[in-house]
Each structure stands twice: as structure tokens, then as C-alpha cells.
Symmetry: C2
Subunit: 96 residues, 2 copies
């Protein structure tokens, strides 16, 4: 049962464990974007971007909003800053 928490957390990390999905998050840090904008900016096929977005949404990292035929995605993590600052620290230490 307590093990469940580790499984849930692992799933969030799994969603983050892909360069394309990290690039999407970085792009969304700039603000809400529709799928087409993300596809234009990242050099990947539309279906791949779509699947990546869905995976990020499933674990609660981003949210979507439909408007006409467009779907707009945006970050749901309030603490992206702290989160990625820590990551950067780890990377910096790793280089030393």
C-alpha cells in the first residue's frame, strides 16, 4: 500500500524520463501552446508529439483545453522552477 506511492512517483518520473517530453515541458514553460505550435517547434512527427502530451497529461504534469479544433496544453506544475533548479544542481555536481 505504501508501495503504491513509490509506483505513482515512479510514473511521474517515467513521464519525465524522455528528452522529447522534457523539451515539450520546456516549451510549455513559456505559456500555453496548441499541439500545432509544439509540432512546429520540435522536430518530431505530430503523432509522436500527441502521444507525448497525453503521457504528460496522464500523470498530471500538464493539462489541456479545447478551443474549436485546437487543443491547448499548459503546465500544471506550480513548482517547475524549484524542481528543475534542483535537477540543474545535480547535473552541475555531476560534471565536477
Amino acid at each position: 500500500m505504501n508501495n503504491n506511492i513509490y509506483i505513482q512517483k515512479a510514473q511521474i518520473f517515467k513521464a519525465l524520463s524522455n528528452p522529447v517530453r522534457l523539451e515539450i515541458i520546456d516549451f510549455l514553460a513559456d505559456g500555453e501552446k496548441c499541439v500545432c505550435e509544439i509540432v512546429e517547434n520540435l522536430n518530431y512527427e505530430q503523432p509522436h508529439i500527441s502521444k507525448s502530451l497525453i503521457k504528460l497529461k496522464e500523470v498530471g504534469l500538464i493539462k489541456d483545453r479545447k478551443e474549436g479544433s485546437n487543443v491547448y496544453y499548459s503546465l500544471k506544475i506550480c513548482c517547475v522552477g524549484e524542481f528543475f533548479n534542483c535537477l540543474n544542481k545535480i547535473l552541475k555536481e555531476c560534471i565536477d
Copy 2:
């Protein structure tokens, strides 16, 4: 080249994307532990624990120290607190 940063970050998240490895990190949050203590506390085969520790070490999340025939592992992340607080926030929001 900038893509490399996403690959590196993804590798850190990949190391964290496993319940056993998260449990190990949680256990190490209590302080430095030798492999045998970790094996005793977590219900997994010694080789699995060993491999998990090596994976965490490879990405710079933990460090090791040999003393006789024992190897002691400890956290190398200074900012575990912030990091996991954010994660908990995401999990909480996800439930709502």
C-alpha cells in the same frame, strides 16, 4: 547540442522512474547505509539492489564509500527536500 541537456536530464529522471530505486532513495534519506542494510530492509534480491544502486550512482544521485568489505551509499542530492515536496504537490493535485 542543447538536445544533450535534455538527454542528460532524461537519464536522471529515468534513474528515478522505478519504485525500488525510489524506495532506496527514501531509505538513504535517513543517512548513509551499506548494501546489506538496504537488502535487509527492502524486499528484493541483493543483485537487484546492487544494480539499482549503481544506476543511481551513475547519474550522480548517490555516492559510495568502501570500508573493508562493505560499501556504504549515501545521497548526493542536496535538494531532495524541495525536489520531493514538488513531487508530492503534483501527486496531491492529481488526486483532486
